[in-house]
């Protein structure tokens, strides 16, 4: 068919120029999940014809309540490819390219990003957002950023040197917990859940190489040195119990160790409980069912019919659903605890047979693992007089599940396309006219979708207040000293000052101090195609610092050693050294949320966000956070 019919609605409301620009534009969509499915549809129905979709994920059952391009028969298939196929069914003339790949792969280099008119993020994690942000700054392409969580969401436009970039605003790292809170003095359900998942589960079943989970802060200070040393002894004792794994007495031994012996040891530290409610140890013989007790004493156990079944209905039953939604009694938790310990012990021994260095890892969708964590957390909560949680809620907290629904994603994707309309008509709508849209939970009255002004660039942002330069070269021929020449040479960037070069937070060159690598080729220092270098130039005489991001593209058979594009030396912004120091000090937090970044700038990251920046995520499943 001709486009005249398909475009009728658009042509009625949009100018002929904009309709044509939309048809000619080339859009990179990063992510084909919750926001991505909606965005792909709305783009195609808005006259956009050329779309490239990148997503590394595969389709899961829990996606189907909102990712409408996917159906049951697509489970486990690549999101990017299925999204493309489904979209082509209602718009067969569209030119959609799909990549089942990580956007951070070297194939998606600066040249790739430069091939698009606008980049649109439909991502679910901070790391990838930060990366696409950097690539768009380097390629000088506008980025439409978006995120949703539950009923809330937001979308705004990022344009180099015109608006704040993704990393301009301080962010807070996922919550970490002091080890003593988790191991000795829990006061919230989440403390018990973290203990169950990150301590007890990984101690019993994790691979030997895996030390404690990074959410546990094991730094010692004056007050807790003795306690930490005792906790280390406690862990050693638990390891000894692992030798009994596979025997009938193993579950009872673990139970008595963690809910009785260890609790009694803590109780003996009277000072600890002067201002806290003391814990209550659990007694195995009082709580375990008769069947359980029998199992523990019988040699070569034979599973009794229906034993422990009342505690764990089969998956798929209505009973199972009710069982996951209710708070278990202590006896029920004990039953689930002992049963899951047996199941996991058998599985652990099996995987260790093939690889002695392996173990089990936490997976919220693995029922015995989740049963174990839920029961363990509840028993610990009971010991400490903390409210217990149903398995459904425990799973949400342990698995960092972000609630998600189709409506919020559809609304935010709609806003993203309205942002695109404005980006493509710069003569009519200046960047300041593209507002930061925030979707809030409706309360039946008042504003639901608000438009606020977009932020200006943060003048001390370590990411966007920098120069962005692309070097095309043969990485097997170009040497690190050629990079130094690019920075200092008057034919190139011509920057004055002391140069240090980092790659992924690793210092590989510094004037006068670290020059061992200068004669090595880029390849030899692992700077290959698609990699980038963070270069800090500290001009003491002028009292200014500059940051340059140098993106490396490998090219064979270049007529010259290298060619440069991007910012010229004079375009590279400066920060007064004094201001840079102050900003670093001001941003440096006391305890948590620290992340080392290039020239030592400390950067804060956010997951849940502050009041001003309410939501930045679709679904984050790889971090622990407070509900």
């Amino acid at each position: 068919m001709t486009d005249s019919g398909r475009l009728a609605h658009l042509e009625c409301a949009l100018s002929a120029d904009l309709t044509k620009t939309l048809g000619d534009a080339s859009i990179l969509m990063v992510g084909a999940g919750g926001i991505g499915c909606e965005l792909l549809k709305t783009l195609l129905l808005s006259g956009v014809k050329n779309i490239t979709v990148v997503d590394l994920d595969t389709i899961d059952l829990s996606n189907l309540n909102r990712q409408f391009l996917f159906q049951k028969q697509h489970i486990s298939k690549a999101k990017a490819h299925v999204a493309r196929e489904s979209a082509l069914r209602f718009n067969p003339e569209a030119n959609i390219v799909s990549h089942h790949a990580n956007i951070k792969d070297p194939q998606f280099d600066v040249a790739f990003f430069r091939g698009f008119t606008v980049v649109m993020n439909a991502l679910d994690n901070l790391e990838a957002r930060s990366y696409v942000n950097l690539m768009c700054l380097a390629a000088d392409r506008p980025l439409v950023e978006a995120g949703t969580t539950g009923f809330q969401g937001q979308s705004y436009v990022i344009k180099r040197r015109k608006t704040a970039c993704y990393d301009c605003l301080p962010k807070v790292l996922p919550k970490t917990y002091a080890v003593c809170t988790i191991r000795s003095t829990p006061s919230l359900p989440i403390h018990c859940i973290v203990w169950a998942k990150s301590y007890l589960f990984s101690q019993l079943f994790g691979p030997p190489s895996e030390s404690e989970d990074p959410v546990l802060d094991t730094r010692e200070d004056e007050g807790n040195a003795e306690e930490i040393s005792k906790l280390k002894d406690e862990s050693e004792a638990l390891k000894a119990i692992k030798d009994a794994m596979g025997t009938d007495k193993f579950p009872r031994m673990v139970f008595e160790k963690v809910f009785n012996t260890d609790v009694n040891r803590l109780l003996s530290m009277h000072d600890m409980w002067k201002s806290r409610k003391p814990p209550t140890p659990l007694v195995y013989d009082e709580l375990a069912s008769e069947e359980e007790k029998e199992t523990q004493t019988r040699k070569g156990r034979s599973k009794g019919k229906g034993k422990a079944q009342k505690n764990a209905p089969e998956s798929g039953d209505r009973e199972r659903l009710e069982w996951e939604q209710k708070v278990w009694s202590v006896e029920e938790s004990v039953g689930v605890f002992l049963k899951s310990l047996r199941v996991l012990a058998t599985r652990y021994q099996e995987v260790r047979k093939s690889d002695p260095e392996s173990g089990l890892s936490f997976d919220k969708d693995d029922d015995p693992v989740m049963d174990f964590v839920a029961a363990t957390a509840n028993l610990r909560a009971h010991v400490y007089g903390i409210p217990q949680q149903c398995r459904f809620n425990t799973k949400q907290m342990a698995g960092s599940i972000i609630p998600a629904v189709a409506t919020s994603n559809a609304i935010i994707a709609g806003v993203m396309v309205l942002h695109l309309f404005k980006l493509l008509t710069p003569s009519e709508v200046p960047l300041s006219g593209i507002k930061r849209a925030t979707l809030g939970t409706s309360t039946g009255r008042g504003t639901i979708l608000g438009a606020g002004s977009n932020e200006a660039p943060n003048p001390v942002c370590a990411v966007c207040n920098a120069g962005f330069v692309v070097v095309e070269t043969d990485v097997e021929k170009a040497k690190l000293k050629d990079i130094v020449e690019i920075v200092k040479g008057s034919d190139h960037l011509g920057l004055k000052g002391e140069v240090s070069i980092n790659h992924k937070n690793l210092l590989i060159y510094e004037d006068d101090d670290l020059e061992d690598n200068v004669d090595k080729t880029l390849q030899e220092v692992h700077i290959t195609h698609g990699k980038n270098l963070q270069i800090l130039v500290d001009d003491d005489d002028a009292g200014v610092k500059r940051t340059v991001y140098l993106f490396v593209l490998h090219r064979d058979n270049l007529p010259t050693l290298f060619t440069l594009s991007g910012d010229k030396g004079v375009d590279i912004p400066t920060v007064a050294s004094r201001v840079a120091e102050e900003s670093n000090n001001a941003k440096r937090p006391r305890e948590e949320g620290l992340e080392e970044r290039d020239e030592g700038t400390k950067r804060l990251r956010t997951d849940g966000g502050s009041h001003d920046d309410p939501i930045v995520i679709d679904e984050v499943e790889d971090t622990i956070e407070l509900d």
């Binding site: 019919g5 609605h9 309540n65 009923f151 409506t407 559809a410 507002k435 309360t443």
Partner: protein, 379 residues
């Protein structure tokens, strides 16, 4: 204002019962929706609720559904999901806006959906939504999309009705708990609202016109549960409480005067855009045709707007000439991003009403696609 159907001769067809879809592979797994009455449970004001009561007489959610709907049950809870499972919704006119609403409601897992549309697929419908294919052109819109709606969620029962609204008798509506009118004209909305009020059917009416959209809700009397604010300080207090909203009819809403309002924000910022839409609908009602972008038509539209706003005691300058000009020129455009915005916002309100958890919109939602922003102004 149903632009597509108002001036055309309609071909009446019989109700397309689900029998016509014997070929559907999903037929066996589809649930029977319960009777419409099941939602009308005993209501008492501000008493504590018992969660067990919520399942009474309803088809229960099973574990498989709980896995499928996991991410949203975490938002609105199992009781609300069970109510959705048992809800029967009718949506009228299959355009860009209803495409979005249908998608959102079916994905969320309502029990049964009936789509009423006498129109055939036109080429421009292919650019308004994703349910239609090239080969559907010339076929009835509701029927050609039916199987594809089922593909989104085979658990939902989907029916297509090809009669125009004017040929359906009042009893037709009693099989539904919720009725959603889209792109309807003012007289139709007033007539249907009267029927729905009399039969205690909850009505939503909505439309999109270029970059502007609106939605109206008349849920008659709506009972919902919400977190008990007292439970924050008093752990012995019930966690949830029950509340009731009495809604105003569309006729009452059109007569609303803002003489002594305490909600100046609603009067001065959100509601005025509703008068722009009302001016458009009133123009259509009086002239039996929508305005063109000619100066004469725009002048008439401005005069209607001034009249409506003065009658309501709202400053007419809150609606700009630019907005009316743009409405006159672009009202027939059903833009996908605006449909996504309006359809998403309205679907969330419909789902909140079905779930009977937290207050739904009361009672006019206005969508401004230019900013973009959206808000609800009360009666």
């Amino acid at each position: 204002m149903n632009l597509r159907s108002s001036s055309r001769k309609r071909v009446a067809k019989d109700v397309e019962a689900s029998d016509t879809a014997n070929a559907s592979p999903y037929r066996g797994s589809r649930a029977k929706p319960s009777q419409a009455q099941s939602s009308k449970r005993a209501k008492n004001n501000t008493s504590s609720t018992d969660s067990k009561e919520n399942g009474n007489g309803h088809t229960q959610i099973n574990d498989d559904e709980a896995q499928l709907y996991d991410r949203q049950i975490r938002l609105w809870g199992l009781d609300a999901q069970t109510r959705m499972r048992n809800a029967s919704v009718c949506i009228v006119n299959f355009g860009a806006l209803s495409t979005e609403i249908i998608k959102n409601l079916v994905l969320a897992g309502i029990g049964a959906l009936t789509v009423v549309d006498p129109e055939n697929v036109a080429p421009k419908d292919l650019g308004a939504g994703f349910f239609f294919r090239q080969e559907d052109v010339g076929q009835n819109r509701a029927i050609s999309a039916r199987e594809r709606i089922l593909d989104l969620n085979p658990r939902v029962k989907v029916d297509a009705v090809t009669k125009p609204l004017s040929d359906l008798d009042d009893d037709f509506y009693t099989q539904f708990q919720f009725l959603v009118l889209t792109q309807a004209d003012l007289d139709t909305m007033l007539r249907i609202d009267d029927i729905c009020r009399a039969k205690k059917i909850k009505l939503f009416a909505a439309g999109i016109y270029g970059l502007t959209g609106y939605a109206f809700a008349d849920l008659v009397e709506h009972v919902y549960t919400t977190a008990n604010p007292a439970a924050k300080d008093d752990t012995s207090a019930p966690k949830d409480i029950t509340r009731t909203i009495q809604y105003h009819s569309l006729a009452e809403t059109l007569e609303k005067r803002w003489d002594n309002t305490t909600d100046k924000r609603a009067r001065d910022t959100v509601r005025p855009k509703f008068y722009a839409v009302l001016a458009l609908l009133t123009y259509q009602q009086r002239h039996n045709a929508p305005p063109s972008s000619s100066e004469a038509d725009v002048d008439r539209l401005v005069a209607i707007k001034d009249e409506l706003m003065k009658r309501a005691n709202v400053n007419p300058s809150f609606v700009t000439l630019d907005l009316l000009r743009s409405l006159a020129a672009t009202h027939s455009a059903e833009l996908s991003p605006i449909a996504a915005l309006a359809g998403g916002l309205l679907s969330q309100e419909i789902l909140r009403a079905i779930g009977e958890k937290d207050p739904p919109m009361d009672n006019v939602l206005v969508i401004d696609g230019l900013e973009p922003q959206a808000g609800i102004a009360g009666y």
